[in-house]
Symmetry: C2
Subunit: 227 residues, 2 copies
């Protein structure tokens, strides 16, 4: 059975890809170049597909800079060295307006185009404290939409499903899951603000969650931090 | 009050723009360059915003060719000279997988980014015989999603609304509505397969619906057809 896996090149999506493969799906990986600051992620995505034997990897270009207003796509500073409490409070400036709706929309188009009904997305518990479009209710609503929005859904050949296998996992649990499935985390990048060599800053929210995740999981962190 | 109007440069979206302006919205027009064959539409969109006094016009580039599988974006022939009965049957090859989900996703991102809650989209009755993502149920589902998917929706500062003012109109009714509101239809393009000078083929489904619409409305058709 075919599936589309959204693959940013980060730790979560790499683990999600490994899970989809372990469930015997024939996977098409989809990365979206949406003008993000951390574009070096896309190179990670390519290396991950090679390392995990995924032959079909599509990269869709979507220039979201025209809609602006996020620290990941506009010239707003990425917050650094926040405490765990600060991270739990409110919706961060790294939120990209309607990002996951757009990403899943593109994934849905690809799925329909290749005859897949299963879409994997690496959202998880650590995210949905902050991002509205990482919550289970959002994915349920998207699933309903998908089955109304498409020729394949309307013709009843199958039902689209959005799989979020990490949704209830903590970062250490995700890391342990990936290690079990042989994910090479040295190929992944989590940092919101890497340098040109792809070295992580070590102090943005994503780096702090990642560092803490490896430490708590008791797994050596293969990341090259510049700090 | 601010609104985002999806503006392809066709007859329907031009009329929708005129309706949004008549309701006193401060309009940001949004066109998406999704690698469509009929890219000359985008030039029409720009001329329309100029002619209707809309100062904020954003063009987002989204290369959907990587997901393929539609006559509008891939090398599948556009059907020509179909009868009205043939057009009513099934979902045409000009259907782009998940296109309206993606377009509305981008519009939602822009709306949130500029502080708008109102999105106008020119879907209409003539469309939803063929395209699943032009039906009222699809727009209702998208509205629900929008209010779950966004920071603005979750924080309850307003409720996103998808306005489809043409949804129950026939093509002649749309044309009469636009004429009443001063839309210059010579600036619009409906054809799925125009030549490089922007001249319409006259025989694809979109041209046939347009020609018949002007004839039935009793309005002179300003379109330059090459046939």
């Amino acid at each position: 059975m075919k599936a589309v896996v959204l693959l940013s090149g980060g730790l979560d999506s790499a683990t999600t890809l490994a899970i989809a493969l372990s469930r015997s799906f024939s996977v098409t990986a989809l990365s979206v170049d949406y003008g993000q600051r951390h574009r070096v992620e896309l190179e990670c995505a390519t290396k991950l597909t090679q390392s995990m034997g995924v032959k079909d990897h599509r990269v869709v270009t979507l220039d979201l800079r025209a809609i602006g207003n996020s620290a990941l796509t506009a010239s707003i500073d990425v917050p650094k060295n926040r405490t765990s409490d600060e991270m739990q409070t409110g919706i961060p400036v790294t939120y990209v307006p309607a990002r996951n709706t757009i990403l899943l929309g593109v994934a849905l188009g690809l799925a329909e185009s290749i005859g897949a009904f299963d879409i994997f997305f690496g959202a998880n518990a650590a995210d949905f404290t902050g991002y509205p479009d990482c919550r289970p209710a959002f994915f349920t609503a998207f699933e309903q939409l998908a089955n109304l929005a498409t020729k394949a859904g309307v013709e009843g050949k199958g039902r689209f499903q959005i799989h979020t296998p990490l949704i209830t996992m903590t970062k250490p649990e995700i890391i342990r899951e990936g290690v079990k499935r042989g994910v090479d985390y040295s190929l992944t990048l989590s940092c919101y603000d890497p340098d040109e060599q792809g070295r992580a800053c070590g102090v943005c929210d994503a780096c702090l969650l990642r560092r803490n995740g490896f430490a708590t999981a008791g797994v050596p962190d293969p990341t090259t931090y510049r700090d």
